[in-house]
């Protein structure tokens, strides 16, 4: 059973106990513990149930590679699932809940496990999807969902804040072990700006645990001295609890800083996502130890040998009293020595190698530990934890095995460099037979735009295995990166020796000839419950590609992304296929290295500032006057203004009636306004609009249509000619930025020699439409300029003043009423709006929203971009031939509109529609034709594009596109309803109100 040792633990403070709970059970740890070390100190062997088979699982590792110990951390507004106990620093009051503990952590569910095991072979998802089909929905899916439930999503809103930070450095060095420190020291001396990030709370990595010596002293001394030196360098920035998460093109990298996870009540943001631009990136990311594949290697108490060392040395915690060590390399012997030094028992070191004669092995033997060479673990005994192992020969089938009693097992299958960040942006790997691992190939490094190398590796991440080699390699990498960033750098590594170690021996299955019964208990991917037998089955079923095998078996697809299982899994696959490991290759490494919080990705973008909201100068007035909002692009526009007791529909009808009868005011500020100026401005607009703008006289306005190259309507609006060289083009509210871009595109890419400048001045002016029979009177009340029909005729504009405010007034009408659109500097728009209302009181002035605007334009038969158009409609479909110039040689869309399909008389064309019973046609309803089409669907001959109840006419009115529509005036056609019924409507002119336009031109 795991326990706290009476002494030791370089990272813990024995005088500072820390209280926490696990599954509501009160426990005590020490300041400096991780949640994992504290759980082990409390003898909590089982921390989880496995994903598929619900086998009990304990802590396997000591770092981010941990597959089992995932917990739900915190409560309420701070609850977060899937947090790794091994990378969670303990704090007072921490509350952790085990996940996937069905039916319970302690319950012995072996019988259930067996049932599950037979039900879920490799690819069981795919297989059960197919046969039998009904089983999926009724049996597999509900059971699997219940059984395989992982972390639960938080229910409450996160109370913490998060932020981003943009950093620009010459060098980003990821990893603060001795390699990262050495690289930073060398690079820092060159004067380059260096950012060194370390995911853990401590510097130095595992060198102090492994007993490394540098410059003749314990590594810790050198680490502290180096930190001190780096701290004095103004060009070096050091950050702990900051993980290099991803490397992207052009030296872009993400780092994930956990600021208050260890102190949740502290001020400030919880996480900070660093968006880093680095000239050069050095990854000093270390290596991860591989598990060995023997039956029962997932039982609580089986741990990576290096993790055992970490817990003893760093935290003064032992995984057991009696630990069997099983290894294929010398490094695990260090664990034996560490355990003996801590006063713990090591009954045997089981080494698969036939002969071992190295200083480490000799030292272990000298300390009285039996070393069994050419040996293997046949299986681990125990149900909820390790009770012993069965020892056997490494090269056989296992036979009966000889029992060895123990309560924990430390295993080591060799070390794999952490190559993730190197690989994110295209760095390639090379297989090392000597170390049985993939390491970065410096000749195939990630390269930048100029083909230059921009990522380098340092230390064991490069495949350098000894302390001396690590420092040499890291210093060289730091120097090379600094030089590549344009500095003069010389490599000068701290002196250290490489320990003398015997070669390791790759072993992928233990024992070598293990039979299926054993192989189906050897776990490769602990988190997704993938076993040796699953990968072998996949190979048998024809999966040769490692990427497909991964997806078929789910090997490496859990949130540890296969940090422990990748190499072992693909070695098994290679073995089953009779191929070499490098031929099989690896799966793709993708960022982030470890999961990062959604909060950090969102940064500040939440709540009020989740997305930019565009407000007009009158926004607050609308808010205060019952606006029911409608999003238009990023703008919010009032759909209508509800008075107390009014429904939305009633408000809309009132707004229309008041405007038609007397006076309405509309905030039209969102309308796009583009100034187009230059000697070629007229020629330019002639190309952009279907009609001729160059003939427009200064002081006059003209409605225009814009089409794209395919002839389809894209935008519309009124163009005013300001002077000989200058036009003001109004666009739709949502179209301003797009049309501005469209104009710049043509000017910059096609007609680059035309002398035209465009500026988007949409927000310079607030725009107020003053509409209705009393519109002129209210302006006259304000006074300041002549707004009579003679001075300011329909489709004219004039500059002047209203009530002392400088304005430009356009006499344009989108409602069919007498109408003035007043442009006023945005800073003064609200004041003018208020003055208009004050002066309009006697006329019952009402503000009206977008829906009233829509109804009034529909009553007039004016089209709306987005209603009558949908990207497939040409102006000719809408009867807008009058707005298409016949005199122009060309305009955008002209040739497209001459194509046979565009000129077909069978195109659906715009008409008005009146229901026979006066009801409102459903928007978007299709007109029914005769018979069915080839797919058995009813033929259609048209559709409704706009449909409203007209308060002016007291009936439903609609516009629609109907085949041969304009030739069928007076005909009654039928439209389908969603309830299966039909509704009859008569084809009429789309102009329902004041067809001669007398009201707007008074």
């Amino acid at each position: 059973m795991s326990h706290r040792l009476p002494q030791g633990g370089r990272l813990v403070n024995r005088d500072a106990p820390v209280g926490f709970t696990f599954d509501s059970k009160r426990m005590q740890g020490l300041e400096g513990d991780t949640l994992a070390s504290a759980l082990l100190a409390n003898g909590q062997g089982i921390v989880n149930r496995s994903y598929k088979y619900h086998r009990p699982r304990g802590i396997l590792a000591s770092g981010p590679e941990e597959p089992n110990a995932l917990v739900g951390l915190g409560q309420g507004k701070r609850f977060e699932p899937d947090q790794r106990a091994t990378t969670t620093e303990l704090f007072d009051g921490l509350s952790a809940m085990s996940q996937n503990a069905w039916p319970s952590l302690g319950f012995d569910a072996m019988a259930v496990n067996q049932w599950f095991a037979s039900m879920m072979p490799a690819g069981f998802y795919y297989k059960t999807f197919i046969w039998p089909r009904s089983f999926w929905m009724h049996i597999y899916e509900p059971v699997i969902r219940e059984a395989a439930a992982s972390g639960l999503p938080p229910k409450e809103e996160d109370c913490d804040t998060y932020e981003h930070f943009h950093a620009f450095v010459d060098l980003l060095i990821v990893g603060g072990g001795i390699a990262g420190l050495q690289a930073a020291l060398t690079a820092g001396k060159s004067g380059a700006t260096v950012m060194l990030v370390e995911q853990a709370a401590h510097w130095g990595g595992r060198a102090p645990v492994d007993g490394a010596e540098i410059e003749g002293q314990p590594a810790e001394v050198w680490i502290n001295e180096t930190l001190q030196t780096l701290g004095t360098m103004k060009n070096v920035r050091l950050r702990t609890r900051c993980m290099g998460a991803g490397v992207y093109d052009h030296g872009y990298a993400l780092a994930y800083e956990r600021l208050t996870d260890h102190a949740p009540e502290a001020e400030g943001p919880r996480h900070r996502l660093w968006k880093i631009r680095a000239r050069q990136i050095v990854t000093a990311t270390g290596a991860i130890e591989r598990p060995l594949s023997f039956a029962g290697n997932d039982l609580p108490g089986v741990m990576l040998a290096s993790a055992v060392r970490d817990y003893v040395v760093n935290f003064g915690v032992a995984p057991g009293h009696r630990t069997v060590i099983v290894t294929n390399n010398d490094d695990a012997y260090r664990t034996a020595l560490t355990l003996i030094d801590a006063g713990l028992e090591v009954p045997v070191v089981i080494d698969v190698r036939d002969r071992v004669n190295s200083p480490l092995a000799r030292e272990v033997s000298r300390r009285g530990v039996a070393v069994e060479t050419g040996a293997a673990v046949m299986k681990v005994k125990g149900k909820k934890g390790v009770e012993g192992v069965m020892l056997c020969r490494a090269n056989g089938t296992g036979g009966a095995g000889a029992p060895v009693e123990c309560d924990s097992v430390a295993m080591s299958g060799g070390w794999s460099p952490v190559v993730h960040l190197w690989s994110h942006c295209g760095g390639k790997l090379t297989w090392s037979d000597e170390n049985a691992h993939f390491h970065p190939d410096p000749n195939r490094a990630p390269t930048g735009a100029e083909g230059e190398v921009f990522v380098r590796t340092a230390g064991i991440a490069s495949g350098a295995m000894g302390t001396g080699s690590v420092l040499q390699d890291a210093s060289a990498a730091g120097a090379a990166a600094a030089r590549a960033a344009g500095f003069t750098a010389k490599s000068a590594a701290a002196r250290a020796a490489d320990a003398e170690e015997a070669p390791m021996k790759p072993v992928w299955v233990m024992p070598e000839q293990a039979l299926p019964e054993l192989r189906s208990k050897m776990f490769l991917d602990f988190q997704n419950d993938v076993k040796v037998s699953d990968v072998q089955l996949a190979a048998q079923e024809g999966y040769e590609s490692v990427e497909l095998t991964k997806r078929y078996t789910t090997l490496g697809m859990a949130n540890d992304q296969g940090k422990l299982s990748n190499i072992n899994g693909l070695a098994i696959l290679a073995g089953s296929l009779g191929a070499e490991i490098p031929q099989v290759g690896t799966t793709t490494f993708r960022p982030p290295y470890q999961p990062i919080s959604f909060g950090s990705i969102a940064g500040e973008a939440r709540g009020e500032i989740f997305q930019p909201l565009r407000r007009t100068p009158m926004h607050e007035w609308h808010e205060a006057n019952g606006a029911y909002w409608e999003p238009v692009g990023h703008w919010r526009r009032p759909y209508c203004y509800q008075q107390p007791g009014e429904t939305i529909e009633q408000a809309v009808q009132r707004e229309v009636r008041t405007t038609r009868a007397s006076l309405g005011l509309l905030d039209a500020s969102t309308l796009g306004k583009l100034v187009v100026k230059g000697p070629d401005a007229g020629r330019f607009l002639d190309m952009l609009y279907t009609n001729k703008m160059s003939t427009l006289k200064p002081g006059r306005c003209r409605y225009g249509l814009m089409c794209n190259e395919n002839g389809f309507l894209s935008d519309d609006g009124v163009v005013a000619r300001i002077d000989e060289d200058t036009f003001l083009c109004h666009t739709t509210s949502g179209g301003a930025d797009r049309i501005h871009g469209w104009m710049e595109d043509w000017l910059q890419c096609e007609w680059w020699d035309w002398k035209v400048y465009v500026a988007n001045v949409t927000e310079q002016c607030g725009q107020i439409a003053v509409v209705g029979p009393n519109a002129r009177k209210v302006l006259e009340r304000l006074g300041g300029m002549d707004v009579s029909r003679q001075a300011l005729p329909f489709m004219g504009w004039a500059d002047g003043e209203l009530a002392g405010t400088p304005v430009r007034i356009y006499r344009i009408s989108f409602s069919g009423e007498l109408s003035y659109e007043i442009a006023v500097p945005a800073g003064r728009a609200r004041a003018l709006w208020d003055k208009l209302f004050a002066a309009g009181v006697e006329f019952g002035a009402t503000a009206y929203g977008t829906e009233a605007l829509h109804i009034m334009r529909a009553e007039k038969g004016f089209i709306m971009i987005g209603d009558e158009t949908d990207g497939t409609v040409i102006p000719q479909d809408l009867g807008l031939d009058w707005a298409i110039s016949k005199k122009k040689d060309d305009y955008l869309g002209k040739r497209a509109q001459q194509r046979s399909f565009m000129t077909s008389p069978d195109r659906w064309k715009l008409v008005g529609l009146e229901t026979l019973d006066g009801s409102v046609l459903p928007d978007g309803a299709y007109a029914l034709g005769e018979g069915d089409n080839a797919n058995g669907q009813r033929n259609t001959i048209g559709r409704v594009t706009s449909s409203y109840h007209s308060p002016t006419l007291g009936r439903g009115i609609a516009m629609g596109l109907v085949k041969h529509g304009p030739d069928r005036m007076g005909e009654v056609i039928r439209f389908g309803k969603t309830d299966g019924g039909t509704i009859e409507a008569k084809i009429v002119s789309p102009v329902f109100y004041d067809p001669d336009g007398e009201k707007q031109d008074v």
Partner: protein, 188 residues
């Protein structure tokens, strides 16, 4: 100009190491033209007292300034009341010279970010190297502020002025405030 208002009516906030406030009305004139044209340079100098700025630069003279916005665009900063006459004067003086001058004072919102944490406030929101070595007085930087376009410059006291579109003033103030609520990063 009694009734002219800024977008946020002078909103302000104070964070632990930086403050954000909306500045008073500022005259801004957008001028597009051939920046190599001697007449244009002379007219700008005459009106503002400023030489033409080089790429990404900003030249100041008293209460006016001229900033480089793009290879054919300048931004003239003048007192708010003078923006209209500046446009008129430019149009008159540049008669016959291909150009575009428009008053954009009301299309913009202007913020000041001050305090020792000012640079780090912006570094949270803008993908820009805000270290003193890379960004100092005399430079005009066009970038984005979180999700909206923005342009900014820094003065000798370390106060940053930031311009964005008026309609998103509330968003910009919200984003700047959120960033300024945070303590020092100790990076810049």
């Amino acid at each position: 100009m009694s009734d002219a208002m800024t977008a946020l009516n002078g909103a302000s906030m104070q964070g632990p190491v930086a403050a954000v406030r909306e500045a008073a009305l500022q005259g801004m004139v957008l001028l597009r033209g051939d920046l190599a044209d001697e007449t244009l340079a002379a007219v700008v100098k005459d009106l503002t007292g400023c030489d033409l700025p080089g790429q990404r630069e900003m030249v100041q003279a008293g209460n006016t300034a001229v900033a480089w916005m793009s290879p054919d665009e300048l931004l003239l900063l003048v007192p708010y009341e003078e923006a209209g006459t500046t446009v008129a004067s430019l149009s008159q003086a540049l008669e016959g010279v291909y150009h575009l001058a428009v008053d954009v004072s009301d299309a913009r919102a202007l913020f000041r970010i001050s305090g020792e944490g000012a640079r780090e406030v912006l570094a949270r929101l803008c993908p820009v190297d805000l270290s003193p070595a890379a960004f100092g007085p005399g430079e005009m930087r066009r970038s984005r502020l979180a999700q909206v376009p923005a342009a900014f410059w820094i003065d000798e006291t370390g106060t940053i002025s930031l311009v964005c579109f008026r309609s998103v003033a509330g968003y910009a103030f919200g984003a700047l405030s959120a960033a300024a609520e945070s303590g020092p990063v100790n990076f810049l």
